[in-house]
C-alpha cells in the first residue's frame, strides 16, 4: 500500500494517463485490483511463504474468521493463503498461454493480411472451420494426450485460442495496406519486408497487445476449467481451479468458502482485466467508442 504522500499524485497520474472523466471510478478500482493482484502474486513467496503440502487436520472446514480470512478447506489449509498462490499460477499460465496464442494468431493473421487474395480467403475459411470446434473439448483432448502438466495446459490454451487474434491482425493489415502512407512507402522504394516491419507492424502492435490482454481472462478460465475437471495442473499444486475442485466436497457439507472463495478471486481479477482492456480499446479507437465492451 502506498503511503499517503505518494497516493494522490499516483491517482492523478492514472487519471491523466487514462484521460479519465470524473465518474470513471470503475477503471481506477479495476486498476487497483489488478495492481494488488500482480504485486501480491509476485511478492507472495517473499512475504507469505506457503508449504504446498502442509495440512492441519485439526482445523478442517473452519468458517472465515480473522485468522483464516476465507476459512479453511477439508485438509485444514488456509483458503485465502492458497488462493494467493493459485492466482499466481493462474496469472502466470494465463499470460504465457495468451502470448503463445498471440504469436500463433499473429503469424496466421499476418500471412493472410500481407498476402491477401486467395491465400487470405483460404486461411480465413480454415479459421472459420476451426472455430466450429468446441475449444474446451479440443483443450481436454490436448491435455489428455500430453498428460496433465503445466506445459500441457499452456499448449492446450495456446492451440485453442489463437483464432480471434488471427482475425484481428488480418483485418488490421488489410485495411492498413490501402492507406496512403503505405503507398508512399512503396513508391519511395521500400520493399515488402521494410513496409511490414517499419510501417505496418507499429500500427498493428497496439492492437496485438490489446488482443493479448483481452485473451488473458479467457486463458485463465480455460486453465481453471481444466484444473477443475482434474485435467489441469498437478493436484497438489495450489491453483484456483484445483482449489474449486477440491472444495466441492466441502461445499456439499456446507463449507461453501473452500470452493467459492477461490472462484471469487477469478471473477474479480478477470473482471478487472476486462474493464481495463475495454477502456484501452476505447482509447485506441476513439471514433467507434464501443458501448459494448468485451
Amino acid at each position: 500500500m502506498a503511503d499517503l504522500a505518494t497516493r494522490p499524485p499516483l491517482l492523478h497520474l492514472a487519471r491523466s494517463r487514462l484521460r479519465l472523466r470524473p465518474g470513471q471510478t470503475g477503471v481506477v478500482i479495476a486498476g487497483l485490483v489488478l495492481l494488488v493482484a500482480v504485486v501480491g502474486s509476485l511478492l507472495a513467496p517473499l512475504v507469505w511463504p506457503l508449504d504446498q503440502s502442509a495440512v492441519a487436520l485439526d482445523q478442517t472446514r473452519l468458517a472465515p474468521s480473522w485468522t483464516h480470512l476465507a476459512g479453511t478447506d477439508d485438509l485444514g489449509r488456509d483458503v485465502a493463503h492458497r488462493a494467493v498462490y493459485g492466482l499466481r499460477v493462474s496469472l502466470l499460465v494465463g499470460a504465457v498461454a495468451a502470448l503463445v496464442a498471440t504469436v500463433l494468431g499473429g503469424v496466421v493473421g499476418g500471412i493472410a493480411g500481407m498476402l491477401g487474395g486467395r491465400v487470405d480467403r483460404l486461411l480465413m475459411r480454415m479459421v472459420d472451420t476451426i472455430a466450429a470446434m468446441p475449444h474446451l473439448l479440443l483443450g481436454i483432448f490436448i491435455v489428455a494426450m500430453l498428460r496433465p502438466s503445466l506445459g500441457a495446459v499452456i499448449a492446450s490454451v495456446g492451440l485453442t485460442h489463437w483464432l480471434s487474434t488471427a482475425r484481428i491482425v488480418r483485418s488490421e493489415l488489410l485495411s492498413l495496406r490501402t492507406r496512403p502512407f503505405v503507398d508512399a512507402a512503396i513508391s519511395g522504394g521500400a520493399g515488402r519486408f521494410r513496409v511490414l516491419t517499419r510501417h505496418l507492424l507499429p500500427h498493428v502492435l497496439p492492437r496485438l497487445a490489446l488482443a493479448t490482454t483481452l485473451m488473458i481472462p479467457h486463458a485463465v478460465w480455460h486453465e481453471t476449467a481444466l484444473s477443475f475437471l482434474g485435467l489441469g495442473l498437478p493436484p497438489h499444486l495450489a491453483s484456483l481451479g484445483n482449489m474449486i475442485n477440491d472444495g466441492q466436497g466441502s461445499l456439499l457439507t456446507g463449507a461453501w468458502w473452500a470452493s467459492l472463495a477461490p472462484g471469487a478471486v477469478i471473477v474479480v481479477v478477470t473482471l478487472a482485466i476486462a474493464v481495463l482492456a475495454a477502456r484501452w480499446r476505447d482509447r485506441l479507437d476513439p471514433r467507434v467508442r464501443a458501448e459494448l465492451h468485451l
Partner: protein, 330 residues
C-alpha cells in the same frame, strides 16, 4: 434473383464449405492422431489395466498385434480415419465398449441440456436486451450491462457451485445433482425436470451475457432506423415499436450469430454436467481424458465439430432464404 437461382447458389455454398471443411477436418484429425501417437501412454498396458503388471510379454504382444498398435503410423491413421468415415467410431479404451454406443446412450441428455438452455438464453436475452435498448443509458440498461459483464467473468462451473450452495443447500428448492431422486425406482419426467432446472438455468445464465449485450446493441442501433422513427412518429405504442419494428430488424443477423456461439455452449455443458453429476457426454469426456482414451475423445471432438459446422451452414442458408438481400460468399 429468382427463388430457384438462390437455391442454386445454396448448392454452391454447400460445395464451397465442404471443400474447405473436409481438408481442415482431415488436417485436424491428422494433428490429433499425431498427438495421440506421441502420447506416453501404452495402449496395450492401458487395455490390460491392472493386469498389465502381471501379464506376460507374450500376452501384451498379442494385444498389440490384435490392436495393430505396432503398425506404421500412417497405416494406423488410415485405418482409424477410414473406419471413422464409414461410421465405425472405434472402441473406447476407458469404458470398454464401442464409442458409438457410448455416444448414443449419452448424447441425448447433453442435447437436451444444451437445447433447453439455449432456448432459455435466447428468449431471455431478446427480451432483456430489447428492454435495455429502449432506454439506452437508462437505469435498467446500465444495471443489465453491469450484470452481464459480471456474469461473463464467472466461470460456469463456479456459477454452478454457487447455485448449488444457494438454491440446493441453503434454500433446499432443488436437488444438488443427478438426474433422478436417489430413492426413485423408476424415471419420471417430473422428477427429471425438477433435477434439470438448476443445471439448465446455470448454463443459460452463463451463456446469456454475450447474447444480451449483442441484442441490446443491435436493437439500439435499429431504434435509430428510419422505419422505426416513422413508427414512433405515427404514434404507435412503445411496445409495438420495440418488439414489432426495432427487434424485428435486429433479429435475423442475431440468429446467425447464435450458430457461431455453439462451441462455447458445448464446453459449458461439459462443465455443468460435471458440476451437477449428470450422465451426459461431459462425464464420459472427463473420464476418457483421465484414461487417455484416444478413440472416444477424438470421436467426441470431431463429431461435435461436424454437428456445429452443419448447424452453422443451416442457419446461414436459412438466413439467406429469409432475407433476399443477403448473399453468401462462403
Amino acid at each position: 434473383m429468382t427463388r430457384s437461382g438462390r437455391l442454386a447458389g445454396a448448392g454452391a455454398v454447400v460445395r464451397r464449405r465442404l471443400l474447405v471443411a473436409v481438408p481442415v477436418l482431415a488436417a485436424t484429425s491428422i494433428g490429433m492422431f499425431a498427438l495421440g501417437a506421441a502420447s506416453p501412454v501404452d495402449p496395450a498396458k492401458q487395455y490390460a489395466g491392472a493386469a498389465a503388471f502381471t501379464a506376460s510379454e507374450e500376452n501384451l504382444a498379442q494385444i498389440r498385434a490384435n490392436w495393430g498398435v505396432d503398425d506404421p503410423l500412417p497405416v494406423q491413421y488410415l485405418r482409424w480415419i477410414g473406419n471413422l468415415v464409414q461410421g465405425d467410431l472405434g472402441w473406447s479404451t476407458s469404458r470398454h465398449e464401442p464409442v458409438a454406443s457410448v455416444l448414443s446412450a449419452r448424447a441425448g441428455w447433453t442435447l437436451l441440456l444444451i437445447g433447453v438452455a439455449l432456448a432459455l438464453a435466447l428468449v431471455g436475452s431478446l427480451l432483456l436486451g430489447s428492454l435495455a435498448a429502449y432506454r439506452r443509458g437508462g437505469l435498467f440498461d446500465r444495471a443489465l450491462r453491469t450484470a452481464a459483464y459480471a456474469v461473463q467473468s464467472m466461470p460456469v462451473f463456479w456459477l454452478g457451485l454457487a447455485a448449488i450452495a444457494v438454491f440446493a443447500l441453503a434454500l433446499g428448492w432443488f436437488p444438488a445433482g443427478g438426474l433422478t431422486d436417489v430413492t426413485a425406482t423408476s424415471t419420471s419426467w417430473a422428477d427429471v425436470a425438477h433435477h434439470l432446472i438448476l443445471p439448465v438455468g446455470v448454463l443459460a445464465v452463463s451463456q446469456a451475457p454475450w447474447f444480451v449485450l449483442f441484442v441490446r446493441d443491435a436493437v439500439a442501433e435499429s431504434m435509430r432506423d428510419d422505419h422505426v422513427l416513422a413508427a414512433r412518429a405515427r404514434g404507435l405504442p412503445g411496445r409495438t415499436v420495440l418488439f414489432g419494428h426495432a427487434l424485428r430488424t435486429a433479429l435475423l443477423p442475431f440468429l446467425t450469430l447464435v450458430g457461431t456461439h455453439l462451441p462455447e455452449l458445448v464446453g459449458g455443458a461439459v462443465l455443468v454436467e460435471t458440476v451437477f453429476s449428470l450422465p451426459g457426454l461431459g462425464a464420459v469426456t472427463v473420464a476418457a481424458a483421465l484414461g487417455s482414451d484416444f478413440p472416444l475423445l477424438a470421436a467426441i471432438t470431431l463429431v461435435t465439430t461436424a454437428v456445429v459446422l452443419a448447424a452453422n451452414l443451416t442457419t446461414d442458408l436459412a438466413y439467406a432464404a429469409a432475407d433476399p438481400r443477403v448473399r453468401l460468399d462462403g
